[in-house]
Structures are given as C-alpha cells and as structure tokens.
C-alpha cells in the first residue's frame, strides 16, 4: 500500500514533465491524466488506511547528515491526504479548460508546479522526520509561490506573491526553532511524542507550532498574506491553496498537539478564543469585499478559525479528561477540514468559471449569471449553502458537531459554552456573506456588458464542479457515511458522534424532501403564469443599475456595526458648490492587519536594517567569500565542537 502511495506521488510530482515530451494539447492531457491516476493511487491507500487503521512506516537511508527518510501513513495523515488528492485531481482536470497553453503563457509552468506542490504537500503529511518535513515544507512553499505568481505581468499579483513568500518563511523560522527544541528533548530529529519534558518545554513547542503553522493555516492575525495570494492565483490553483494547503498548516498543529501529553487547560481556551475571534473578524472582512475571490479567501480564514476552535475543544477535552468531548472536538475539526476542502474548492472553481465568462472579479459588475450559466450557478449555490453551514450541505454536519461540543460543556458550567453563541453569530454573518455573493453574482439583472454576454463554461470545467457539488450534498444529506472513516482518525467517535449524526440526518432529509416536493408543486402551478417586469412600485423604467448592490447588501455589517479598524475605506466627496462637480464614490477594501498593523512595524524595522546595507553590495567575489566563511565556520562547528567536548 505504501508503495502504491509512493508511486502515485512520483506520478503526480513528474506529471508536469509530460508537457516537455508531448507538445501542445496532448501534453496537457497526459499531465492531467497523470495527476488523476496518481491521485487515485493515493486515494486507494488513504481509504485503506482509514478503513483498517493500519499504520504504514518506511525508513530509507538518506545521504544527508542527521537526516533519514522516514515516512509514516497513519489515519491522521490519511485524513489530511484525502483533500490533497481529491482537489489535485479535480483542479487538474479543470485546469485543462481554464488555463490551457493556447491561452495562457504560464500554462506549462503552472502544471509543473501544481504537480510539485501536490507531491510536496503529501510528503509533509507523511513525513516522520523533521528534516524531511522541512524539505517538503519548503518545496510546498516555493512551488506555491510560483503558482501564485503565475500571472506575473500584473503588479498586484507580484506583490501578493512576495508577501506570501515572506510570510511563509517567517512561519518556517518558527518551525526551525520548534524542531530544534523538540530534538533537544528527544535527542533525535525523528518525530515522536515529547518525552518527559517538564512544563515549560511543551508550552514552548506548542506556541512555536501555533505561530509556525498558524502562518500557513491563516490563523488571524497571521492570515494577512492569504486574501491577496488566494485571490490572485489562477482559480484552480486557489482551489488547491484554500482546499488543501491551508489544511497542511492545520495538520502540523494537530500533529504536534498529539505529541504533547497532558495539555493544560489554557491551551484549549487559547485555541477556541483565537479560532472564534478570528472567524468573526474574517467573515466580517469578507462582507466588505467587492472582489469575489478575496471574499472567498476571507471565508477560508473564517473556516480555519472554526477548525482551530474545534481543535481547541478537543484539547480542552484532553485537559479535563473527557474522552467524549475530545472525540467530538477532534471529529468536528477533521470533518470540517474535509468539508471545507470540498465546498471551498467548489466555490473557487465556480468563481473561476465566472471570471472566465465575465473577465472580472468585481461582484458589483455582475448579476443575472444564473440564467446564462445554469450549471455553474447551481453548483455555486450548493457551495454557498455549505459555506453558510446550512442543513443539507456538508459543512452543517461538522459545525453542528462543534456546537454539540460547546453545548456539552454547558451543564458543567464551563465558560467555553459561550463559544456556541459566538459561533452562532459567525454562522449568521456567514449567511449574510454568501447570500450577498450568490445574489450579487448570479441573481437579478446583469450590471455590465460582460455579465450580460457571459457564457457557460466548457464541459471540462463543469464536470469538476458537478462532482464537488454532489459531494457537498451527499455528505449533507447522509452524514452517517463519514462516521466510519472518522472512527479511524478520532477514536471514540463511533460512540459519541454516530448517534448524533444519525439523529440530525432525519430532519435534514425531511426538509430536503418536503422542499423538493413543494417546489415541484409550485413549479407546476406557475408553469403557465404570465411573465412581467419586476414590480418596482409603479416606476416605469427600472434599470439594472438600480438594483441593490453587493456593497449595500453588506453595508449594515461591514460599515455600520463593525469597529473602524475593519471597515472598508469609503471616499465620497460631497458635490457641494454653486455648480456642483460630478459626484464620486470610491470604496477600497484592504487587509487591515497588514496595512495598519504590520506595514508600519516593518517600515520602522526596515529603516534600522538599512545600517547593515553594506553587507549586500552585489559583487560576486564578496558573496563567494561569504559562502566560504560560512562553510568553514560550519565545518569548524561540526568538527571542533565534538573534539572539544571529547577532550574535556
């Protein structure tokens, strides 16, 4: 089984090379086929591991000091491999039509790096040795940098890619520190439980993991790179980044937490607080966005917040020794990882189709697309229902589990119970956010020429969306199908969550059944009804521009009820004069954390760092000298230190 996985990974990693062997369209198709085949191989292993719970391990020698290639596929790793393979396969097929060589200069590059990114992410998840982990981590970070920068003729894209590169490496620094601390305790870089380390060291490892993996997962306030990066990447890449790469960050956090025994109570509290405040912040920012892909990216930050809160509940359960609570929190986290991957992948692919058809990401120049793009529209509608965690869609199941966890702490009198009310608030704002997105993009009248002449996407783009939408609805209506795989990841899930999932299925199915029945009746009753213009209170000439816009729909939440820090900047100089000039309105949304928190901070430090400018002169001999000095110092450290120690 492990051999199958490794074969699949190699196939995926090398899939981009097909374009160099086979010219043109055939190369693209061969590459996509290789990714799909490799993903299927990987999924077989994943399903087998989740079914049997058997841990596969392999240990290979590696010609690097202190390094070994140890890979381990346990149920936890399998759980996080699943979204990588699913989204990798789906996005590659979608990319055939969305980003073909005939239209995009960067198409070959994108395919090569998608293969490397998918293989890198999978290797991170199965790595059981810190060096291998970091190498794969860097492979993932760099290949995704090139993917984000695919459209590099645009300044916005280049900026977003640079910010991402810097952010991910700050996170990596924290991971370096974390692995060094862990090695100091365990005596080896092989990953394993932290043995007998007192109280201070586990806390240090936990906090370093939170920072290091928090950058990758996009935990507020470390998420600032995310909206730009996910919005500016090609949409099928955004689907992979949001659906799979964020989850690799979550995986790291979960994995490290399993290595730390007896977590104190405050870890759980910190995770829940971080997760929920982050979710609330992010979903509020999503409502202020007029760029659909940035709004979706903020919704990803929100969902990561929910996942982190669920991990917090599990950690809390471990701290107070309540196995049922641990299982529920953990199951909610894993399940939400799966669900979010599926529905956010779907939403990004849908946004890609819209972008493909209209050429813009601004929702206020869209409208009425459901009539022109029925398949994309219906799929996006399903994805939006999931993102708002509505019954009948998959994300409701995982969020309901998290509520259940919060409520279980209520009879104990724990303050954690307040989380349920905050989560309810987040959920209700998510409803606003996704009604706003769906309504402004797909419903009503077209607000621009491009939207009025939009066309449905080609079949190769529709099939991936249909597959993901079907997964959203099936999991939503039959939540019990995922109990079995969850049982392998979260032991104890069967007793504590299976009855609950079975119970919520009935009302949800009844609601779906009743709605469909009534809908059909209504459809039949109004089939021959006369058609007329929308009633606009007797006004004779309504135009599309008189519709409610996305901005006005979100105005209450994003511009009135939020603190000033999170509001979009609105400039509307009043035309106030004897002969008033034309009125203007400009609304700019920016990432408040990076613009108002980090940018001033970085600016100040950058000024101080200028003093070291003389080190960087751009002369080759100097750099060769630096390399030589570093090498000598490294050798000296490696050779002289042990000698000194032996001599003493």
């Amino acid at each position: 089984m492990l051999a199958l996985l490794v074969a699949g990974l190699s196939l995926i990693a090398l899939s981009g090379l097909a374009s160099f062997g086979l010219r043109g369209r055939r190369g693209e198709i061969a590459g996509a086929t290789a990714v799909v085949a490799g993903s299927l191989c990987g999924l077989v292993t994943v399903i087998d591991t989740l079914r049997t719970g058997i841990v596969l391990t392999a240990n290979l020698p590696w010609q690097l000091p202190l390094a070994e290639v140890i890979v381990r596929v346990d149920p936890l790793a399998a759980a996080f491999l699943a979204p990588i393979f699913v989204l990798g396969a789906v996005a590659s097929v979608y990319g055939l039509a969305y980003w073909p060589s005939s239209e995009q200069r960067s198409a070959t590059r994108v395919r090569v790096f998608i293969g490397i990114l998918l293989a890198g992410m999978s290797t991170v998840v199965i790595a059981a040795h810190a060096i291998l982990f970091l190498v794969a981590w860097e492979l993932m970070a760099l290949s995704s940098f090139f993917l984000i920068a695919a459209d590099d003729s645009e300044r916005e894209v280049r900026d977003a890619a640079w910010i991402y590169l810097v952010a991910t490496h700050i996170g990596t620094l924290a991971l370096f520190a974390m692995f060094v601390v862990m090695r100091d305790v365990n005596g080896t870089f092989a990953l394993g439980p932290l043995a007998g380390a007192g109280a201070l060291v586990p806390t240090l490892v936990f906090l370093l993991a939170l920072i290091g993996f928090g950058f990758k997962a996009g935990i507020v306030p470390l998420h600032f790179w995310l909206p730009g990066a996910h919005a500016n990447a090609p949409s099928h890449v955004s689907a992979i980044l949001s659906g799979a790469m964020l989850k690799v960050g979550v995986y790291g956090l979960v994995r490290i937490l399993t290595y730390l025994d007896d977590p104190p109570l405050w870890w759980g509290g910190l995770l829940v607080a971080l997760g929920l405040t982050g979710a609330l912040t992010a979903i509020t920012l999503a409502i202020g966005e007029s760029d659909m892909k940035r709004a979706l990216a903020y919704s990803s930050v929100e969902n990561v917040g929910i996942i982190v809160a669920a991990i917090g509940v599990a950690t809390f359960g471990r701290a107070v020794q309540l196995p049922a609570l641990t299982a529920i929190g953990f199951a909610a986290a894993i399940l939400h990882v799966w669900n979010h991957s599926v529905f956010k992948g779907l939403l990004f692919l849908g946004a890609g189709s819209v972008l493909h058809a209209t050429g813009t990401r601004r929702i206020d120049s869209m409208g009425g697309l459901l009539r022109r793009m029925p398949v994309t529209g219906a799929a996006f509608f399903a994805g939006a229902c999931a993102a708002a965690a509505l019954p009948g869609a998959n994300a409701f199941v995982s969020e309901a589990l998290l509520y259940y966890g919060f409520f279980l702490t209520a009879p104990r009198g724990s303050m954690l119970a307040f989380g349920a009310a905050i989560l309810a608030f987040v959920g209700a704002i998510a409803v606003v956010c996704f009604v706003r997105l769906t309504g402004t993009i797909f419903l009503g009248n077209s607000r621009s020429e491009q939207a009025a002449h939009a066309h449905e996407s080609p079949l190769l783009m529709r099939i991936p969306m249909i597959v993901l939408a079907a997964a959203v609805i099936v999991t939503g209506l039959l939540p019990t199908v995922i109990v079995q795989p969850l049982q392998a990841v979260a032991p104890g899930a069967l007793e504590s969550i299976a009855p609950f999932l079975g119970a919520i299925a009935l009302p949800v199915q009844l609601a779906a059944l009743g709605t469909v029945a009534l809908f059909v009746v209504l459809l039949a009753a109004t089939r021959r009804s006369p058609r007329a213009v929308t009633w606009d209170c007797g006004y004779a000439a309504p135009t599309a521009r008189m519709q409610y816009t996305g901005r006005s729909l979100g105005e209450w939440i994003s511009e009135r009820l939020t603190p000033d820090f999170l509001r979009p900047r609105v400039e509307a100089p009043m035309p106030f004069d004897m002969f008033p000039p034309p009125a203007k309105l400009s609304v700019s949304t920016r990432e408040p954390f990076s613009e108002e928190l980090y940018r001033p901070l970085v600016k100040r430090w950058a000024r101080r760092a200028m003093r070291f400018r003389w080190v960087q002169q751009g002369r080759l001999p100097h750099y060769l000298l630096y390399i030589l000095v570093t090498l000598v110092a490294g050798i000296g450290w490696a050779v002289v230190f042990p000698l000194l120690r032996a001599w003493r």
Partner: protein, 299 residues
C-alpha cells in the same frame, strides 16, 4: 398519532394567531377590525389564484416560498407540543432547529434578490442583518436553559417540571424577555417592522415578497404564520411546566400561544416602529440580557 395532532395544531391554528393579533390591535384602536378568521380566507384565496412572475427570476424565486413553508412545519416537529416528547427529539436538536430557520432565511432572501428589485434587496439586507444580531440571544438562552434543565434538547427545555422557576427564576425571566424580542424581530413585528405598512421603503419582510403572488404568496403567508406560532410555542413551552397529558398540554400550548398573540398585539398598539439605527442596539441589548442569564446560572 401525536405527530398528526401536532402537525394539525400548527397547520390549522397558526392563521388564527394572526387573526388574534389583528383583533387585539383593532380593539385597542377602537375599531371593529377584520374577523378573527380572516387569515384563513386570505390564504385560501391566494392558493386558488393565478400568479404573475417577473421575467428576471429563475428557479431560486420559487425555492424561497417552498422552503419558507417546509421549515416552520419541520421545526414544529422538534417541539413537544403534545405530551412529553417531540416527534423529533435528540440531544442537540436545537442546533438543527436554529439552522433550519437559517436555511429558510438564505432561500427567502435569495428569492428576493432574484427579482433584481432595489426594494426587495433592501428588505433582504435588513432581514439578514437583524437575524444575525438576534442569533446570539437565542443561543445564550439555549445555554442558560441547558444549564437549568440539565438536558440538551428542546424537549428537555420545554418539559421542565416547574422547579426551574424556583431554582433560577431571575435567569428564566431574562431569557424569556430576550426571546420575546427575538420573536418580534424574527417574525418582522413592531418595533422592528410593521406588517401593515404599505410604504415599501420601511418594510422588511413584506417588501421581500413584493413580487410573489398567488400560491407562492399564500405559502409565504402561511409559512410566516407557522413560524410565529413555532416561536410562540417555544416560549410558552419554556414558561409552562409540562403536565404529561396530551390534551392538557396541547390546549395549554394553544392557549399560551394565543396569549403571546395578544401580547404582540398590545406591543404593536402601544409603540411605533423603531428608527432603523436603533434596531441593532435593541438586538444587542437582547443578547446581553440573555448572556447575563447564562452568567447567572453558570455561577
């Protein structure tokens, strides 16, 4: 048997509730008012009529009314209206209860946006925002009741033995006051919305359904009545102890809900709509009140 009884109660008695509210308002204003059974006639007439559909709309436009009718009916099955256990009762059913209404909100506001009318968009924006602000109040109430009743389902909240009034009377009063505000906003009543006004700019719920006509509008009207009934029944069930006898409980709920109707009528006669900017303040107050109830019982 109990399922049928419950469904009949909600389906048949809910338009009566609207009649009671309107009659109360009429009497308070010194008018005769429409007959108590007027809502039945309205719904029956609408269901028989034809309809005109906007050219702008798609299937989403018809999905709204369908969901708006199904959801309250299904939610009512989670309340123990007859006897001591609801037809659908399990630990954590309150989550599904609340989210079913979120589903209805999603579909009805999407249906409103589907028409491309500015008025309906405005109504949708307000409906979504105010409901979002009311959500924490509802959940704080659930948390307090979970602590007081020791259970985690609507059935356990609504079938307490009366001892809760002795043990946690202050918290109960706070929760019920907060939930009454939630009931008013969720059902678009004064002081949040005026169901009788005919000025589109000021309305929330009524303006969202401007373009629905005939059977679709009848379903919306009926669904709204049932939603009001369900929320009223939830509050009444929490206030009154359960007797265990099907008939007694059934009539207690029915009587209680009609009293809630009278209370709504009195509120609507006694005060005007709030200015729009005041609405969020009142809703946040409701959340704080319910949150304080949680603090009281968590001690």
């Amino acid at each position: 048997m109990r399922v049928v009884l419950q469904l009949l109660l909600v389906v048949l008695a809910s338009p009566l509730l609207l009649g009671v509210i309107n009659k109360t308002k009429a009497l308070m204003a010194g008018r005769v008012g429409p007959p108590v059974l007027q809502s039945y006639r309205d719904i029956a007439k609408l269901l028989r009529k034809g309809s005109v559909i906007s050219e702008t709309t798609t299937w989403v436009f018809l999905l709204g009314p369908a969901v708006a009718l199904v959801v309250p009916l299904l939610a009512s099955l989670m309340l123990p209206l007859a006897g001591t256990e609801a037809p659908i009762a399990f630990t954590g059913d309150l989550i599904v209860f609340v989210y079913l209404f979120a589903l209805a909100r999603f579909c009805t506001t999407a249906a409103a946006l589907d028409t491309g009318s500015a008025f309906e968009g405005m109504g949708a924006a307000r409906e979504l925002t105010f409901a979002a602000l009311a959500e924490p109040a509802l959940f704080f109430g659930f948390l307090a009741l979970a602590r007081v009743s020791g259970g985690l389902s609507l059935t356990s909240f609504m079938t307490m033995d009366g001892g809760h009034w002795r043990r946690a009377s202050a918290a109960m009063v706070l929760v019920i006051a907060s939930w009454f505000i939630v009931l008013l906003v969720e059902n678009s009543r004064v002081p949040f919305d005026d169901p009788n006004t005919h000025l589109e700019l000021t309305m929330i719920h009524e303006v969202m359904v401007l373009d629905h006509s005939g059977p679709a509008f009848g379903m919306i009207l009926w669904g709204a009545a049932m939603k009001l009934f369900v929320y009223g029944a939830l509050i009444v069930g929490v206030i009154l102890p359960a007797s265990g006898s099907v008939l007694v409980d059934l009539s207690a709920i029915l009587g209680g809900v009609l009293v809630v109707g009278v209370a709504i009528g009195l509120v609507e006669s006694g005060m005007a709509r709030l200015r729009l900017v005041r609405v969020p303040q009142l809703l946040i107050t409701a959340s704080l009140v319910a949150g304080f109830a949680v603090v009281l019982v968590l001690r």
